[in-house]
């Protein structure tokens, strides 16, 4: 069974995304802050995909993306964002995510089918 790591500072988003992912047949691991997520990434357990909220609180999740790039270079990463970064546009969040090693970007709010098709695409590439 594939394992998906879901990171978001909003517990409701974590719950919704985890339910969607679990119903699609994947195991989920979750974290609501960057430090816990980095610990999970660094501890060597099996993770096949990470879904990362771009804004954790008021800061972009660049430390986490950097940790993934360094320690899990081959793991696909989907970054999600719905704004929340002051005057930083989604285009900038998207581009910075890609430069930081993300493989996919999804704009919140998203439809279940859009999320799952992107996950399937990432896990079969």
């Amino acid at each position: 069974m594939k394992t998906v790591l879901v990171i978001d500072d909003d517990p409701e988003i974590i719950e919704v995304v985890s339910q969607m992912v679990a119903a699609h047949g994947f195991k989920t691991i979750t974290a609501t802050d960057e430090a816990s997520a980095i610990e999970i990434v660094n501890n060597g357990q099996q993770i096949d995909l990470a879904i990362v909220d771009f804004w954790i609180g008021t800061e972009p999740a660049l430390k986490l993306l950097n940790a993934i790039k360094l320690h899990r270079a081959s793991m696909p990463v989907m970054v999600m964002s719905g704004g929340g970064g002051g005057d930083i546009s989604l285009e900038v969040a998207h581009t910075v995510s890609l430069v930081s090693g993300a493989t996919q970007f999804i704009q919140k709010p998203f439809k279940r089918d859009d999320l799952l098709s992107k996950i399937d695409q990432l896990l079969t590439e």
């Binding site: 972009p60 950097n66 704004g83 970064g85 002051g86 930083i88 989604l90 900038v92 930081s100």
Partner: protein, 138 residues
């Protein structure tokens, strides 16, 4: 000044008939996003700009047959937008590709440094400490 010159050089053609940076951004958005999201309001939100300039740019791109409404010219006003084959072909000449090629030619260390600086500028230095702390680990 060097940075401004670099940015200006990306968009070499500056005649009034040339594709403008905002129009390129719209073409890129339509190329990367699901068709269901491709409406003026969604594009404006994504680009962090107002409805009016996006609406004008969309009208220009439609006039040039680079984008169209899903369902063709008779589709309702709120129909999502999509690239035409001409629009897809034009994206192959996207000036940003030239810059990407130049960046790929840099030695890794220089490219990482440039990427970190660009991230800081793009995020209004939101992530200054974060990047500083980690950039030495590349």
């Amino acid at each position: 000044m060097l940075w401004e010159r670099t940015v200006r050089n990306i968009y070499e053609e500056r005649s009034s008939s040339a594709i403008q940076p905002l129009q390129w951004s719209i073409l890129r958005f339509l190329n990367a996003s699901p068709t269901s999201d491709a409406r003026v309001a969604t594009i404006a939100k994504y680009l962090g700009t107002h409805h009016a300039p996006v609406s004008r740019a969309v009208a220009t791109l439609m006039k040039r047959e680079l984008i169209e409404k899903v369902g063709g010219p008779t589709a309702v006003r709120t129909s999502p937008l999509t690239l035409t084959s001409r629009g897809r072909d034009l994206l192959k000449t996207d000036p940003i590709r030239k810059l990407a090629r130049e960046m790929r030619r840099l030695p890794d260390r220089e490219r990482w440094l440039l990427e970190d600086i660009l991230k800081k500028l793009a995020l209004n230095q939101h992530a200054l400490d974060t990047i500083d702390e980690d950039s030495s680990s590349h």
